[in-house]
């Protein structure tokens, strides 16, 4: 099963889903535990590069600019497949897709697409994006008076900041002013990157703090419309958050079935203990519930159903809770072995917990979710 029923997918979409499955099996499965040691071991640079070769960085990029021209639902299908094996690369694809969604929202709003041409590696390499924090949680960097240069500022928790050439950055003119998004060349001499941060999960998706001083920056869309673009991106990328979490859950459940079949305790296969079956049942139910709501959100997006955004956000927020619980049980079913890095379960728990934080802190997302419903009711 996919996040979206494969029968309902077009041939092209199915081909991408299969490609993602094969790619993760060939490029990510082997040495998964070793790759998880970054920043204390090598980064998965081959996989990051090859993901560009097969077109994963251009899935939601308009066809006019060399992309596939599909929506975030298709990105979600790919992320789910990859996350089942190793969610780190999915994190990198997420950062890139989120940045592209900001560009898309800006292009639709301003009717101006010139920004795409400024990105030389468009569709072939990831774009960096502060994907764990909503702009409400960070202090956007400040713009100089002439409007073309970022005066100063620091943004923490920048995903892909040390491997990407470009970043999409929230910027403010003055304290208290609405923010805008700007494109920044990360190779500019005014950009300083911290050493790679040690994080809870998604170790193969590097994160750094970035300081920017007197650096040229290109406005994305219209001045002061950052919040609108963020909201549009958050709606669409919520599908991808849910998909990553679903993939991680499925991987955890699959390995839990295998392990509980192989492991004997108390004189029988542990899968034959009723208590173990109850835990497997809870995991399976959690995964099924996440799949159902994600599938519904994807279908609503495709059909243009009014209110699909609420379903998408509900999918992401709910899947976060389900995935953290299910992957914790995935560790528990392995006992002491589950806590070691010789098995993939502890990584899945860490990855799920980190992916749950995508697009901003969960309580704030809930507060904004209900505020939006109240706003619409009014």
């Amino acid at each position: 099963m996919n996040a979206i029923n494969t029968d309902a997918l077009s041939a092209e979409r199915q081909a991408f889903a299969e490609l993602a499955k094969d790619f993760s099996a060939k490029k990510l499965f082997e040495n998964r535990e070793e790759h998880d040691r970054y920043p204390f071991a090598e980064l998965i640079t081959d996989a990051i590069r090859d993901a560009g070769v097969v077109g994963f960085y251009g899935v939601n990029l308009p066809a006019d600019f060399g992309g596939v021209g599909m929506n975030a639902g298709m990105v979600a299908v790919i992320l789910e497949k990859i996350s089942e094996i190793d969610a780190s690369l999915a994190g990198i694809l997420f950062s890139n897709a989120a940045a592209l969604e900001i560009l898309k929202a800006a292009a639709e709003s301003a009717g101006e697409t010139g920004i795409y041409t400024a990105i030389k590696t468009l569709g072939t390499a990831p774009i960096a994006f502060p994907m764990y924090d909503s702009p409400d949680e960070i202090n956007p960097v400040m713009l100089s008076k002439d409007g073309g240069t970022i005066f100063f500022g620091k943004i923490c928790n920048f995903a892909c900041g040390n491997i990407a050439d470009y970043a999409v950055v929230p910027v403010r003119k003055k304290e208290g002013h609405p923010y805008s998004y700007y494109l920044v060349d990360l190779n500019d001499k005014g950009v300083t990157k911290s050493a790679p941060l040690v994080t809870l999960g998604l170790h193969g998706c590097p994160m750094v703090d970035i300081s920017i001083e007197k650096t040229p920056a290109l406005l994305i869309g219209k001045e002061g419309e950052g919040a609108l673009y963020f909201r549009a991106m958050q709606d669409r990328m919520s599908l991808c958050v849910a998909a990553m979490l679903l993939g991680i859950m499925k991987g955890s459940l699959k390995d839990a079935f295998q392990y509980t079949n192989d492991r004997y305790q108390g004189g029988r296969q542990i899968i034959d203990w009723p208590l173990v079956r109850m835990m497997l049942a809870n995991m399976a139910l959690d995964a099924k519930a996440a799949e159902a709501i994600l599938s519904m959100a994807c279908q609503e997006l495709d059909a243009g159903v009014h209110g699909w955004e609420q379903t998408a956000q509900a999918a992401a927020i709910h899947a976060a809770e389900l995935a953290v619980r299910a992957t914790a049980d995935g560790v528990q079913l392995f006992g002491g072995n589950g806590y070691t890095k010789d098995y993939p379960q502890e990584k899945r728990l860490r990855d799920a917990r980190q992916a749950a934080n995508l697009l901003g802190m969960i309580p704030l997302r809930k507060v904004n979710y209900i505020a939006r419903i109240i706003e619409e009711m009014a």
Partner: protein, 504 residues
Amino acid sequence: MKPYRISKKEKLSLLSNRPRIEEVYNGLECQHRIASNTHKDVETAIAIGRKFNNEVIRPIALEIDRKCMEDHNYLPHEFVRKAADWGLFSLFLPKMFGGGGLNFYAIYPFMEEISSSCAGLGHIVNVHYCGVATLFPSMNMNVITTVFRDVVKSERQGKPRLCTIVVTEPESGTDSQEPLLNQYSKATSNVKRVKGGYIVNGKKIFISSGHLSYWHIANFFEDKSDKLGSWIQFAVPNGTKGFSFGTHENKMGQLACCASELLFDDCFIPNKLISARALDPEFKDSEKGPRWVCHTIVDHVTGSSRTGTAAISTGIARNAYETALEYARKKRVAGELLINHQWAQIILSDMYRNVNMSRTVYMESAATLALRGLFKLLFIKPIHHFIKIMPRWYFTLLTPIMKSRLATWAMRQFYFHRYPTEERNAASGWGSACKYTCSDLGVINSNLAIDLMGGDGIRHDHMAEKCFRDIKLQQIYESTNQVNQMNMFYCLIGSGIPEVEYFK
């Protein structure tokens, strides 16, 4: 007679119904049954823990954790020496063995304290007492005195010799610690009786702090067809011929405290280091039989060690709470200080509640242990006062008596042969109850901290992610929470229901 007036007979009759006072009100019972100065040790232990946190653990907690990630072979020997300088490895050993003599009621708040700054480093101290609590229930006063006095002496010399508990094997995890499942254990280690001792072959895994310890309190089965009835325990010191360390696990959290492999290759252990043996006539021919005795020893160990596990979980839950609180005081979200958002205040309230509910549960378990479990002898008022009053040199003079067979006989009479099953069940049941309750609450708090801290919550340098990694272990070790649920059912629910069957 007015309805609220009640005769003594009727009152006793009503109180004999479940839940009985001796089962669920041990905290209350302690108020009159243990010495009134007991709380002083608790306060001292908390103060020492806090000072140790401020001066030793907190400044290095994240640095050591990161070092362990970077270099798997790194072991925090320097920290062990520092803890020894503070006398922490003998602080809770009774004065009769030359120890600091703080009572065992105080050890659990102490464990909470040092785990609230770093569960990994704290665990190095905590698991030493877990080893102590593994040896102590053997009630072999000769071995106990030898080991404990060696711990005290080595600590004073600046070359600390820690204790650790050795049970798990590659194919025998959960079932090796659960008396009702022991018979199915696929433990592959072998012990063979030879002249003057035993030859041991096999591998033990997940031995907390193994590489940092000296005295390994190792548990095996002599007869594969009757495991519980043939249980045997040795105190194995480093340097024993045929004993060596293997690797240590690459794990998710509590990185400072290694989980070691111990290898026994034709390892000869002399009779003098056998602390308990089920097949000895004393147990084998006893009225209750060797299985009951071994079940009791296991429950003495787990009842006390699981309460410690619960205290550690409470410490981690507290670390998560305190980290989130400090963060909320500084972080601005949507233009407001995070702590001034009502939803954040509610999350912090939940976290505070979880910490304090957690502490209440493990302290109730500690009270049960003091009145009915492993520590009950030491809390009998005259004994408590006698030990408090008499100077250490007095007990040093008594060492030959302490090591005598008479002492072992007397202790085993008290803790085994005349020890009621009901007390065992209360102590063991509460150990399990607090173990799985506190670890679950700790997991909730770690999640809430990351929820509240957002993108910063997943960074190593902000501590919350470390709490998340550290707490997960608490649901697994000292038997998984699921096995603890079953043990609690066995001890506190099923024990009064004759038709009930277990592990079906």
